[in-house]
C-alpha cells in the first residue's frame, strides 16, 4: 500500500529535499519549511515575520538588495543564484537558490517564493576554481612584466654594444694601414668580417626588442634612391665575409622602388646569411632582384637539404634556430626580422623548399 504521505502536500512542502521560504512584498518571511529550519537551526517563530535578508550574511544582504530584489521586480524570477544564510550558531550555510514572484492578474507582485539547496561542496569547489583562475591571471601579469623588462634590457644592451664594436672596427682599420705581412692582412680581414656579423646581430636584436616593445620597424622610404647599388654593396660585403662561397646575383630593376634601402639591405643580408649557414657549401647562393608587374621581387635560393616540414611553420618566429654547425649558430632572429621588414613594406616573405632548392621570396608593391 502506498504511504499516505505521498499525496500529502503539507508534508511535501515541509520535508522537501530543499528549503522553502515565502516572502511578503516587504521582504519579510511569511512561511518557511521544516527542512530550512533544520538546516539553519532557527525556529519558525524566529524566522516568520523577519526580513529574509536578516538571515543572510552581509554580502548576501547587499546582493539581495542590489540584485535579487530588483531582478525579481523586473523579470519576475531569478534562477540559480548563490546566497549564504547564517545559521542559529552563527555559521555560514552556502546555498544555491531560485526565486519566483507570485503576481496578481494585474501583474502586481503579491509574494515571492524562494527554493534553496545546500551547496557547500559546490560553492567550495567554485571558490577553488576562482582562486586558481586569479592565481593564473596574476602569474601571467607578472610574467608579462618580467618579459617586458627583459626586452628592455636587451634593447639597452644591444645599443650599448654598438660603441665598443665601432672602436674595434676603427682600430682594425688603423692597424690595416701599417699591415705588411699576409698573415696580418688575413687577421684584419677576419676582424672586419666578425665586426660585420656582430653588427648585423646587434641590429636584429635591437629591431626585435623594438618590435616587441611596440615601436615596430619604422621605415625611411625613398623611391628615388637606387636599389641596385645598395644590393651590390651588401652582397659584396657578404662575399668578402664568406671566402670560398659563391654568391650569384642577377638584377633586372628598371623602375623606382619605394622602399627603405637600409632595411631592404638588412633583409637581403639576413636572407643571404641564412642561405650561407644552411645551404650546401658546394653550391652557389643565388640572388635575383627584379621589378615586374608593379612589384619588386627579390629571391634568395640555395641548394642542400630541404627544410623539414615541421620547421616550416616556425621559420619566421623569433628565436627559431635550425640545425647548423655551432660556428654559424645565430640568435634565430634573422628570418623573423626579415619578415617584419617585409610586413612594414606591405610586402610578403615566403619560402619554398624542395630537394633541388630552398628559396625565400620577398615581394612588395613598387609604390
Amino acid at each position: 500500500m502506498d504511504s499516505p504521505r505521498i499525496d500529502d502536500f503539507e508534508d511535501m512542502f515541509d520535508n522537501a529535499p530543499c528549503g522553502y521560504v515565502t516572502l511578503l512584498t516587504n521582504g519579510r518571511i511569511a512561511r518557511v519549511n521544516r527542512t530550512l529550519l533544520g538546516w539553519t537551526g532557527h525556529t519558525s517563530d524566529q524566522m516568520i515575520g523577519k526580513p529574509f535578508s536578516s538571515f543572510l550574511n552581509m554580502a548576501g544582504r547587499i546582493y539581495y538588495e542590489t540584485h535579487i530584489a530588483p531582478l525579481l521586480r523586473m523579470q519576475g524570477f531569478f534562477d540559480g543564484f548563490a546566497i549564504d544564510m547564517v545559521t542559529a550558531s552563527g555559521e555560514h550555510l552556502q546555498m544555491i537558490a531560485s526565486a519566483t514572484d507570485g503576481r496578481d492578474a494585474g501583474g502586481k507582485t503579491e509574494f515571492t517564493r524562494v527554493a534553496l539547496i545546500k551547496a557547500v561542496d559546490r560553492r567550495l569547489y567554485e571558490r577553488g576554481l576562482l582562486e586558481a583562475r586569479d592565481m593564473a591571471a596574476t602569474g601571467l601579469a607578472r610574467e608579462r612584466e618580467n618579459s617586458e623588462l627583459r626586452e628592455q634590457f636587451i634593447a639597452v644592451l644591444g645599443h650599448d654594444l654598438r660603441n665598443p664594436l665601432a672602436s674595434i672596427s676603427a682600430g682594425a682599420r688603423i692597424l690595416g694601414r701599417d699591415a705588411t705581412t699576409e698573415k696580418q692582412h688575413q687577421i684584419l680581414a677576419m676582424l672586419e668580417t666578425t665586426v660585420m656579423r656582430m653588427a648585423g646581430l646587434i641590429d636584429n636584436v635591437l629591431d626585435f626588442a623594438r618590435g616587441r616593445l611596440g615601436g615596430g620597424i619604422v621605415l625611411a622610404r625613398n623611391a628615388n634612391a637606387p636599389v641596385e647599388q645598395m644590393l651590390h654593396q651588401v652582397i659584396d660585403e657578404l662575399r668578402l665575409a664568406s671566402p670560398g662561397r659563391q654568391i650569384e646575383a642577377v638584377y633586372a630593376i628598371d623602375a623606382p622602388v619605394n622602399c627603405d634601402r637600409i632595411r631592404i639591405g638588412q633583409l637581403v643580408s639576413n636572407l643571404v646569411g641564412n642561405a650561407l649557414s644552411h645551404g650546401a657549401t658546394n653550391e652557389p647562393v643565388r640572388v635575383r632582384a627584379v621589378t615586374e608587374d608593379g612589384l619588386f621581387k627579390l629571391s634568395v635560393a640555395n641548394g642542400g637539404e630541404p627544410i623539414p616540414e615541421a620547421a616550416m611553420e616556425k621559420l619566421f618566429e623569433p628565436f627559431f634556430r635550425g640545425e647548423v654547425r655551432a660556428s654559424r649558430q645565430g640568435l634565430g632572429l634573422g628570418l623573423h626580422i626579415a619578415s617584419q621588414i617585409a610586413k612594414a613594406h606591405e610586402g610578403s616573405l615566403n619560402v619554398t623548399s624542395t630537394a633541388e632548392e630552398t628559396c625565400f621570396t620577398f615581394v612588395m608593391p613598387l609604390r
Binding site: 554580502a59 547587499i62 546582493y63 571558490r127
Partner: protein
Amino acid sequence: MVFAHGFGCDQNMWRFVEPAFAGDFKTVLFDHVGAGGSDLKAYDKSKYSTLGGYADDVVEIGRELGLTDAVFVGHSVSSMIGALAVQKAPGMFGKLVMVGPSARYIDDDNYVGGFSEQQIEELLQFLDSNHMGWSAQMAPAIMGNPDRPELGEELTNSFCRTDPEIAKAFARVTFKSDNRADLAKIDIPTLILQCSEDIIASKEVGEFVHRGIPGSELIILEATGHCPNLSAPDEVIAAMKTFV
C-alpha cells in the same frame, strides 16, 4: 530630467518611475559604463576608480544634450555621482533628487555607515560566486543588443548582468567611497528619499546626508528595501512631484 542607476543593475531601475515624468520633462536615461547596454570597451579602470569618473560622464552627457537647470535623479551611489556632477558643471542641474543616498558606507570613528571594511571585502569575494550567467563569449551579444527580443532566453538576468570584474570594481568604488565633505558643497535644492527599512542606506545615513546638504528636504517613504523605484514607484513618483 536625468535618471541615473546605482550599483547592481541598469537604467531599467527607472522603468516604473520615468514614464510618470516623460510628459512634463525631457527625460534622459543612461547606463553607466560597465553596466547594461554600455560599451564595455569604453571601460577604463583608472577613470572609473573614483566616483568622479562617473560624474565626468554625467557632465559629458549634459554637455552633449545642452542641459541647463535640469533635474538629476540618482539612485543609491548615483546620488553622490550627481552631487559631484553638480559641482563639476554649475548651471547644468537646478535640482537634485537622491533616492537612498549614503555619503559613506563604512563605519568610521563616530560615523555609522552600516558596514565594516571586512564586510565590503566579503561582498567583493561573494560577487565572484554570482556571475549571473556572464561569460566572455556571450558578452558581445548581450552588451551590443540589449533590446533584441530574438535573444530572448539569453537575456535572462540581463538587467543586472555585467562583466564580473567590472561589477567588482564598481562595488569597490561604491562601497569605499566617502563623499561626506561634498555634501556641504551642494548649492541647489535637494530632495532625499529615504526608505523605512534599508540596510544599505539606513535612516541614520539618510539623516546624515540631509543634515549635510544645506536646505535639503528629506522624505521618509513607507517603502522598505533599497529600491523603492521598483518596489513602490507610486510613492516615489508622488514624493518627487512635490519637489519638481
